[in-house]
Amino acid sequence: MNFRLGRLSKSAMTRQRDDALAHEAPTAEVDRAPAGGAAKVKARDVNVFYGDKQALFDVSLDVPEKAVTALIGPSGCGKSTFLRCINRMNDTIPGCRVEGSITLDSQDINDKAVDPVLLRARVGMVFQKPNPFPKTIFENVAYGPRIHGIASSKSELEGLVESSLKRAGLWNEVADRLHQPGTSLSGGQQQRLVIARAIAVSPEVILMDEPCSALDPIATARIEELIDELRSQYCIVIVTHSMAQAARVSQKTGFFHMGKLVEAGPTDEIFTNPRDTRTQDYITGRFG
């Protein structure tokens, strides 16, 4: 039985990885066997409150660098709330309180010394609906580098816009119409434009909140291909309702349910042999 050998060596690999990472700060029981590289973002006992209502309960999760981490779970489970903690987007919501620690390269992002605007340049975000600025394609991408003073000359800025659009896989489609409005592009192109805008400021982490849910299958495939390419350079966290998408694009998956992280681990294990029955019920489409 060939598949047995495959599975065996796989689990042996996982074990070795566990051993190699055993000296790392231990995470909660629910987060096992970090997939991919060392942890870029570490969340420990994160609790989030919207006024009196608690949205997240003691979430501890390691987000590996140079890998894609997928967050899945039913609506209202807290996965987007958690995503928004990573670049302090929750700061913008009145009455929202975040407890616990989230570190980016071992720096506490909620520290008073951290400027949330600079943090968001390091931790970019892509939303469900493409949200290009009502400006030209060029200006959409040039905006970030300009306000953060990343490019020192016009030619450098032009080079940065081109390389960002190329990395987002959009350059060939827009090279001859850079000065048309960003909103004139198709939905899939707009989403890639937004990704180009996010990577133009050289972020370290890219957060994606259901980036493909408004796109057709072809545009979705392009974005997924892009995510797969970007993962060699960035730490990517994606929230998705599509189980198949989580399985396709991610190396690590975390399952949220009712504000708690139920289980996190290597994507192939979560989708073939989840440990928690709640995870199993959710991904197989059963009544929870």
């Binding site: 039985m1 047995r4 599975r7 689990s11 989708f271 199993q280 197989t284 929870g288």
Partner: protein, 230 residues
């Protein structure tokens, strides 16, 4: 286990398992009848086994088709995925068992033409009974989702090997004692080998059930008796 939200998905998965169980029942009957054809020298029964094997081939194709359809249309995950793949693999093993039973039945037709060798027949019958009971046990484990029962079958594979090895020695003794028995003994040796292989398929099925239910492979070394020297 909670039920699927989409009821037709639940029904299809259950139908797949049920069909696999039905194929199992048919396979058991084929093995039992093939064995009886040898022991009772029943020409008619042997013929029936040969004819009925076609049905097993059809069932295997049907189960495989359904499983592939399930993967394409439902994208089963986790335990559902393991269940789908297990059904396909078990059907595959059962189809092989069916072929082996058919081969035994065919050999019984040749054996009927030779002089009966009662003591050898008894040994074959004992081994056949053991193999049949293992097949029955493992299929019961499948239908009742009982991993312990599957493991029990898996860990007792050496009993069949022991029977095979002793039959092998017995047949050699006969052949050396009277060369006129060589044709019949050679056929009986193949019958024994086929029975031993059916036992191996039962073991395979036990491993598949273990993976289906637990998501883990059986990794420890299976007990094995391999002394083929006479």
């Amino acid at each position: 286990m909670n039920e699927h939200i989409v009821k037709s998905y639940e029904d299809e998965l259950n139908a797949l398992t049920a069909e696999c169980a039905r194929m199992g029942g048919l396979t058991e009957a084929q093995v039992a009848d093939a064995l009886e054809a040898v022991v009772k020298r029943d020409q008619q029964l042997a013929g029936q086994v040969v004819v009925r094997d076609k049905r097993l081939d059809e069932l295997e194709t049907e189960i495989e088709r359904k499983a592939i359809r399930m993967i394409a249309l439902r994208q089963p995950l986790a335990n559902d995925l393991r269940r789908t793949v297990a059904a396909m693999k078990i059907a595959n093993n059962l189809e092989r068992v069916g072929d082996l039973a058919k081969n035994i039945a065919k050999r019984s037709l040749v054996l009927i033409e030779a002089e009966p060798m009662t003591p050898l027949n008894r040994s074959i019958e004992r081994m056949g009974r053991l193999v049949s009971s293992r097949l029955k046990e493992v299929l019961d484990a499948y239908t009742s989702n009982d991993v312990d029962r599957a493991v029990a079958v898996w860990s007792r594979d050496d009993e069949v090997d022991e029977h095979y090895n002793s039959l092998f020695r017995e047949l050699l003794t006969y052949m050396m004692g009277d060369p006129r028995t060589i044709t019949a003994c050679a056929h009986l040796l193949f019958v024994a080998k086929n029975l031993e292989r059916i036992g191996d398929h039962a073991t395979n099925i036990a491993e598949i059930i273990h993976y289906e239910i637990t998501g883990q492979e059986m990794i420890s070394e299976r007990p094995k008796t391999d002394s083929l020297r006479p």
